[in-house]
Every structure is written in structure tokens, then in C-alpha cells.
């Protein structure tokens, strides 16, 4: 009931203000319709360009032009539709000539950019990861304008610009990538070389302490230690032998079998020296030192001392020489002739031989040797063995001293090793890093070269014109009928709005019902407006005038449509055709 009353109120209000609704709504509709039919026709021509994937599988050659297609298209369109290019198209096809006097070139360019539309065509695809996604597979380039031919030509030019720009940009990108990587590769090569040089110098400086020789050093150290132990054992054995031989020798009479031709025993030089010294001491008590006998004795003693010294030296030299020769033979079996130990042994032998030769040339030694065969052979044998053993011991000690020195050297190498290792590791790491970077960049350079070839051969991702622009046959906008319908709806809305505003502003009483609810007193009567006959006549006159005006406006609209849009007879037949189609 309440709703019914409200509806009645609305209806009454509408009836009350029907003219307020009708006149503005009709006026607005007429003006809008006129404007809609005056609006110029806009034609559009569009081309479809397909985004074709790379012909060579991407697993084999990766293109250097990457990123989302949409982004690339956007950047290409920015470059293709640059001021210079658009200006050239405007001049070539005489676009916007009607605006040349009224608009600046910037405004004309802005207008043209508004009229160019690049729209992506997307499709659902399955990505490499297997997930469904949306990708741009093609796009359209369209241009709007007033003249069909001009529109088609312009679209064609825009498409060409776009395609050229795409190729140019791809090639440029590929080349830039290749050049950049090449430059990087040169830098890295220099770095690697520098690193290698540093390592070589370091190795040279710390040859024996290098970490890779650590094992060898330890083994060598172990071997030296063993050698030292062996030498020590040898020396001990030799010492024992020497003691034994000396003991033997002590039991053997030096002159047991040495006698002269007259049957007197021939004394050894030592015995002779001993005897001479005793004689000298005995004679000294009775004679002065300047006594010829004393001088003679003194001379004999000196000579004997020298002889003994020379003999001792010769004997030791022989033994040492023999020992070195044996050592050299052993070394030559192990090492080459260039080994320092071999060279050292040879040097020593040469030195000893030279020394022996010089001592044999001496008159004193030769003279002293002459009496040797007069000694006991067993004694001499023992003595020789003792001397040889002594020489061997000495030799062994020398060798052991060298071994100890060598041992110390190797201990030093091993002690230095951690520090060297740290520095060496740093150098190695730098080298490996540089080397890895170099290798990586090398791969990239190769890939970039391939990608460049890909772009040159045009077998990478490319844009193909699948639908070239055609000349539009009819305008695509404005959609006049749709606009008329919209204008009609808006006009109705405007009229209703006016009525609503008027009702909202109006606080006066309307209708008996409102009055009844407003006052407690009864509503005695509702008196209609008492019209005079003059008013009636005036009203009739108004109606006639409104009818005449409406008819004139309608005729005007029909005439305007006939002149500016479409001939009425054609429109009529079109409407009839459409109606028949609908039926």
C-alpha cells in the first residue's frame, strides 16, 4: 500500500512536471542528435603482425635479444614512432593539413600518436616450466583518420617502420652484446696472463716450499734421515773396526820381519824419529844445540817429521780418494751427470787427485816411502786398514754433515710451506677466478657470435606481416545509431533529473492526499483551476504553435540527415531491409 502510494506520488509528480521533463529532454536529444550527425566519419585501417619464434632451437643457440615481447614491442614502437619518423609520414601523406594553421607541430604529432593504436593479441600457451600462461603471439597496428586512402597508406608506412626498426634494433643489440663481451674477454685475458706470471715468479722464488712438493719434501726428509741414520751406523761400525784394527795393530810388531842387509832391524820412521829424539835429548845434556851433531840430529828429526806428515797425508788422501770414487760410482748409477751431487763428487775427486799428484811429486814423500817395504807386512796391512777405516769414518762424517745440512734445508722448506701455501693459494685462487671468468666469457662470446649470426641470417625471433592494411570501406566511428540511443537515454535521464531536482526544491503542497496528511482539519474541496475563455483560446494557440515548431524541427532534422549523412530514400530502404532481416 505504501509502495503504491509512493508510486502514485511519483506518477503525480511526473504528470505535474511533464513539460519540465519533456521540453529539456527533447531539446537535449535534438541537440545531441544534431551533433552526432554532424560529427565527421573516422576510418581505420589496421595490419596484423605475427611474432614468430626462433627457427633454430633455443637449446642450440640462445638469442641475445631477450625479455618480454610486450616490452620489446613497446620499445620498438617508441623508436619507430619517433618524432622524426612521424613528421616524415605526415609530410609524405599530407596528414592533418587542416590543422596546420591552428595547431603547433607538437600538437599535430600528439594527435597522430593518439590516432595510432598498437594492440597485442594474446593467447594461452604452456610455458617451458609446464605452467599455462598468457603470451603475446601477434599484435595489430591501426591508424584512424578521415580519409580511407590516406589511412591505409599511413598504416602501411607505420608497419614498415615498425618492422625495419625491429630488425635494426635486434641486429644492433646482438652486435653490441658481442662487442661488449669481446672487450671483456680481452681484459680477462690480460688478467689471466698477469696472474700466470705472478704464479711463475712465486714458484721460482719458493720452488722447494711449494705445497705440491710437500709430500716429496717429506719423503726426501725421511730419506735423508734414514741416510743420516745409516751413516751414523756406518761411522759407529767403522769406529768399532778402527778400534779393533788398532787393537790388532798394537799386538803386531812393526819391525818383526823388517831387517836390513846387515841383519839389523830396520826401524820405522816413527821409531827412528823416536830414537832420534831420545838421542837428541840425551846429547843435549852434554852438547850445545849449536854442536854439529846436535844440528844434524835436529835436521834428521825435522826431516822425519815432515816425511811422516807427508806419508800420513798421502795415505789419508788415497783412502779419501777411493771413498769418493766409490761414492761417485754409486751416484752415477742414480743421477745424471748434471746432478749437483755427481758434479760435487767429481770435483772432489779431481781435487784429491791433484793433491795426491802434488804430494807424490814432493822429494820428501818419495824419499820417506822408500823405507816402507822394510816394515812388517801384517803391521802395514793393519795400519793401512786402520788408515782406510779412518778415512772412511772421516768421509762418512763429511757425508753426514752434508746430509744434516740438507736435512736442515728441507726442514726449512717444510716450515715455510704453510706460509707459502697461503700465498700460493691466493695466487692460485686469483688465477682460477680469472681463468674461470675468462672461460665463461669465452663461452659467452661464442654464443654472442652465434646469436649475431642468427640475427644476420634472420632466423631468430621475427615479426611477419600476416594481414597487410587494407582500405577501409566504411567508417568505424562514430557509431551514430548507438550514440543516438545513448543520447536518448541521457536526455530521458536529464529530464528525470530535472523533475527530481524541481520536486526536491519544491516545498509546496501537491494533491489532496498530501494536504490531508499535513493538516488536522478536513479538506473541504479541491477546486480546479478556473480557466477563462481567453486562457482556453491562448492555450489552443500555444498547442498549435508547439505542433508547428515540432514539425519544423523534425523536417529540419530530416533535411540535415538527407544533406549531411545519408539520403532519406536510401536510409528508408536500408531501414526497410533491416526490418525485413529482423522479421
Amino acid at each position: 500500500m505504501e509502495t503504491h502510494n509512493e508510486i502514485t506520488l511519483y506518477i503525480n509528480a511526473f504528470k505535474r512536471r511533464k513539460w519540465l521533463f519533456a521540453v529539456p529532454a527533447a531539446t537535449l536529444f535534438l541537440l545531441a542528435s544534431l551533433l552526432i550527425f554532424i560529427l565527421p566519419s573516422i576510418y581505420t585501417s589496421s595490419a596484423t603482425i605475427l611474432v614468430e619464434g626462433q627457427e633454430v632451437p633455443q637449446e642450440l643457440i640462445q638469442s641475445t635479444v631477450t625479455g618480454y615481447v610486450e616490452e620489446r614491442l613497446q620499445s620498438i614502437s617508441q623508436m619507430a614512432f619517433s618524432r622524426k619518423n612521424l613528421k616524415s609520414i605526415i609530410d609524405r601523406f599530407g596528414l592533418y593539413s587542416e590543422y596546420k594553421d591552428s595547431l603547433t607541430s607538437e600538437e599535430i604529432l600528439a594527435k597522430m600518436r593518439e590516432n595510432i593504436k598498437v594492440e597485442n593479441i594474446q593467447a594461452d600457451v604452456v610455458s617451458n616450466t609446464g605452467r599455462p600462461s598468457t603470451a603475446t603471439i601477434a599484435f595489430t597496428i591501426a591508424f584512424d583518420g578521415k580519409y580511407p586512402k590516406q589511412v591505409m597508406q599511413t598504416t602501411n608506412a607505420l608497419v614498415s617502420l615498425f618492422l625495419e626498426e625491429n630488425l635494426r634494433e635486434r641486429e644492433e643489440k646482438a652486435l653490441t652484446t658481442y662487442e661488449f663481451l669481446n672487450k671483456q674477454l680481452d681484459q680477462l685475458r690480460e688478467e689471466v696472463q698477469a696472474s700466470e706470471a705472478r704464479i711463475a715468479i712465486f714458484k721460482e722464488e719458493h720452488y722447494r716450499s711449494l705445497p705440491e712438493l710437500m709430500e716429496l719434501n717429506l719423503q726426501t726428509l725421511d730419506r735423508i734421515q734414514k741416510d743420516i741414520d745409516a751413516r751414523q751406523e756406518m761411522i759407529k761400525t767403522l769406529m768399532d773396526r778402527k778400534v779393533y784394527l788398532e787393537g790388532q795393530m798394537a799386538t803386531v810388531d812393526q819391525t818383526m820381519y823388517s831387517y836390513s842387509a846387515d841383519g839389523s832391524r830396520i826401524m820405522t820412521p816413527e821409531e827412528e824419529l823416536k830414537a832420534l829424539r831420545s838421542q837428541y835429548l840425551a846429547s843435549k845434556t852434554s852438547r850445545s844445540e849449536k854442536h854439529p851433531d846436535m844440528i844434524k840430529l835436529k835436521g834428521q828429526i825435522d826431516l822425519l817429521e815432515k816425511e811422516l806428515a807427508a806419508r800420513r797425508r798421502a795415505t789419508e788422501g788415497d783412502a779419501e780418494l777411493e771413498s769418493w770414487r766409490r761414492q761417485l760410482a754409486a751416484l752415477e748409477k742414480k743421477y745424471t751427470a748434471k746432478h749437483p751431487d755427481v758434479i760435487n763428487a767429481r770435483g772432489k775427486i779431481a781435487e784429491l787427485e791433484a793433491e795426491l799428484a802434488s804430494s807424490q811429486n814432493s822429494d820428501m814423500v818419495l824419499k820417506a816411502d822408500k823405507g816402507l817395504d822394510k816394515e812388517n807386512p801384517a803391521y802395514i796391512n793393519l795400519k793401512t786398514q786402520v788408515q782406510a777405516t779412518t778415512l772412511e769414518i772421516r768421509n762418512e762424517r763429511n757425508v753426514m754433515a752434508e746430509l744434516r745440512k740438507k736435512y736442515d734445508d728441507y726442514v726449512g722448506y717444510i716450515e715455510q710451506s704453510p706460509q707459502v701455501e697461503q700465498e700460493y693459494a691466493t695466487l692460485q685462487r686469483d688465477y682460477q677466478n680469472s681463468s674461470a671468468k675468462y672461460q665463461e666469457t669465452m663461452q659467452k662470446v661464442l654464443a654472442a657470435r652465434q646469436a649475431q649470426e642468427l640475427e644476420k641470417e634472420h632466423v631468430s625471433e621475427k615479426l611477419s606481416l600476416v594481414e597487410p592494411p587494407v582500405m577501409p570501406e566504411k567508417p568505424y566511428k562514430p557509431k551514430r545509431m548507438l550514440l543516438v540511443v545513448v543520447a536518448f537515454i541521457l536526455s530521458i535521464g536529464f529530464g528525470i533529473g530535472l523533475v527530481a531536482v524541481a520536486e526536491f526544491m519544491d516545498h509546496s503542497v501537491h494533491g489532496r492526499d498530501m494536504l490531508t496528511t499535513l493538516v488536522n482539519a478536513p479538506v473541504l474541496a479541491s477546486i480546479p483551476y478556473v480557466q477563462t475563455s481567453e486562457e482556453v483560446a491562448q492555450q489552443k494557440k500555444h498547442r498549435v504553435m508547439i505542433l508547428t515548431t515540432s514539425a519544423s524541427i523534425f523536417a529540419g532534422i530530416v533535411l540535415a540527415v538527407h544533406l549531411f549523412v545519408i539520403p532519406i530514400d536510401v536510409a528508408f530502404f536500408k531501414i526497410v531491409d533491416k526490418l525485413q532481416m529482423v522479421i
Binding site: N12, K15, R16, D506, H507, S508, V509, H510, G511, R512, M514, L515, L518, V519, N520, A521, P522, V523, L524, A525, S526, I527, P528, Y529, V530, Q531, T532, S533, E534
Partner: protein, 267 residues
């Protein structure tokens, strides 16, 4: 003008011709009548008949008026008579919240309807001294010196002012000159006396007072104390709801007999 309207007009004119101008307005015995003034004219109600054309131009009901309008006034009249008979009222004031909302037309047509159709004698008094309209509307003010204001200042007596506009059983007491001292005049004892005189002199008549609007004017407020009932005229689409409420509040709900919606738009 339609044929019917012309015929009605002709009939009216013929009736006016025969009219017996003496048509009789019976005057009761003046028990309480005061001595007439020196300027008093003979106690004869003047007959000043207005033509149908004049009445029609002034939106008064004639034989040619539209039936639905006549019906509307008949309804008003019937309801009023019913109410007044029940309550024994005979002095009714017609006013409105604001100016030009159709008080005079309603009052005049109501009086005419009572006189014509109900065959009840009606006295229409133009108490709108600020903008007197009854005389002009009915075409009865031919003499500028014989209006209500002259009675109130004591120049004339009641019988000298009464005019018959050519309709049986209808008497008009016009106000002919506008005055800005309306409220003062309406609050004089003479006014009170006039109302009392009308009640006494015409006890079986309906006395309808056409008063100025209520808001911004003290006239009707002053005058409302003299009458039995009030009819408030409101104009559809013009009188605001706020004014209606204010007017009712000023006049008092008790005395208001009812409201008349004027210029009602027939749906």
C-alpha cells in the same frame, strides 16, 4: 464560445432583464438597528448586476462554466452547509496563508453557489481592505464612496452598503478603496458591531467574509475572533507546507472548519 455557453448567456441576460430588481431581499426587523447616519441612503439594497462575460473573465461561475468546477464548488458548499448547520455557525471567514492564492474567487464562488444552488441567502463581505477584490470581481463597485471602509469610519450604515449582484439570495458588502490601515479598521468596535449586526440581522443567512492572507498580516488574525469558523484556502503547487502549518498555528485549529485546495490539478 460554444453554442451551449451562448444559449446560457442569452438566458441569463433575459432573466436579468425581467429581474425584478426588487428581487427580494428580505430584511429582518431591525431590532438592534442603530439610527442611520446623516448621510444614510434609503435602506434599499442596490442591484448592480454584472454581466456573464465580466464574471467569466473574473473566474466566477456562470451557466457556461465547466461542470467539474461547478461540481467542486457544490461539494464545498455542501460540506460547509452540513458543518455549519450541525454547529449552528453562520459567519465564516475565508483566508489563505499567502497572497493571491484564490481567496476572493473561492469566497465569491462559494457565496454564489450557496445563493444559487442551495437557495440559501448569503452575504459576502469584502473584509480584505488592503487589496479589496470582491467588488471588482463581481463588477459591483461603481461608487467609490460606498464601501466597507466607509462603514468602519462611520460614514455609512450597513443597509446603505449592501449590493445585490443580480443573483437571487446573494448580497454583497464590498470594500472599494484600499487602505493600509486595514488592521486598525478591522479591530475597531464598528467592525465588531458589523459582524454582530450581520449575525443579528441575518440569522438565517450565511455571512462569508473575504479576508486578507494570514502570514505577515495581522488583519485576519484580528478578525478571526469575530467569526464562527474559518476556511483556509491553499493553492496547489504554490502554498508551501510550512506556510500552511504556520497559518493554522496562528489561526488556531479549533476555528478552522476546513481547508480548500485551490487550483487543484485534476489527474
Amino acid at each position: 464560445m460554444s453554442k451551449i455557453a451562448k444559449a446560457l448567456k442569452r438566458a441569463q441576460e433575459e432573466r436579468a432583464d425581467e429581474a425584478v430588481v426588487h428581487a427580494a431581499i428580505q430584511q429582518p426587523t431591525p431590532d438592534t438597528e442603530e439610527p442611520s447616519s446623516p448621510k444614510a441612503k434609503p435602506r434599499q439594497t442596490q442591484i448592480q448586476e454584472a454581466s456573464d462575460i465580466h464574471m467569466e473573465r473574473n473566474r466566477l461561475l456562470t451557466g457556461g462554466s465547466a461542470q467539474h468546477i461547478r461540481d467542486a464548488f457544490n461539494v464545498l458548499r455542501a460540506k460547509l452547509l452540513q458543518m455549519t448547520r450541525e454547529k449552528g455557525m453562520n459567519t465564516i471567514m475565508v483566508t489563505s496563508p499567502g497572497r493571491q492564492e484564490g481567496k476572493t474567487i473561492v469566497a465569491t464562488n462559494l457565496a454564489m453557489s450557496i445563493a444559487r444552488d442551495a437557495r440559501q441567502t448569503a452575504l459576502l463581505v469584502d473584509t480584505n481592505l488592503r487589496w479589496p477584490g470582491v467588488a471588482q470581481t463581481m463588477g459591483v463597485c461603481k461608487d467609490q464612496d460606498s464601501g466597507l471602509e466607509h462603514y468602519l469610519i462611520g460614514q455609512l450604515e450597513l443597509p446603505e452598503l449592501l449590493v445585490n449582484p443580480g443573483i437571487d439570495k446573494l448580497v454583497v458588502l464590498p470594500a472599494c478603496q484600499a487602505t493600509t490601515e486595514s488592521a486598525d479598521l478591522l479591530s475597531t468596535p464598528r467592525m465588531q458591531k458589523l459582524v454582530q449586526e450581520c449575525k443579528n440581522r441575518y440569522p438565517d443567512r450565511y455571512v462569508i467574509f473575504d479576508c486578507p492572507h494570514v502570514l505577515d498580516m495581522p488583519d485576519s488574525l484580528v478578525f478571526s475572533t469575530y467569526v464562527d469558523g474559518i476556511i483556509l484556502v491553499v493553492e496547489e503547487g504554490k502554498t508551501s507546507q510550512r506556510d500552511i502549518k504556520a497559518a493554522i498555528e496562528m489561526l488556531g485549529e479549533d476555528k478552522i472548519l476546513g481547508v480548500v485546495l485551490n487550483k487543484h490539478i485534476t489527474q
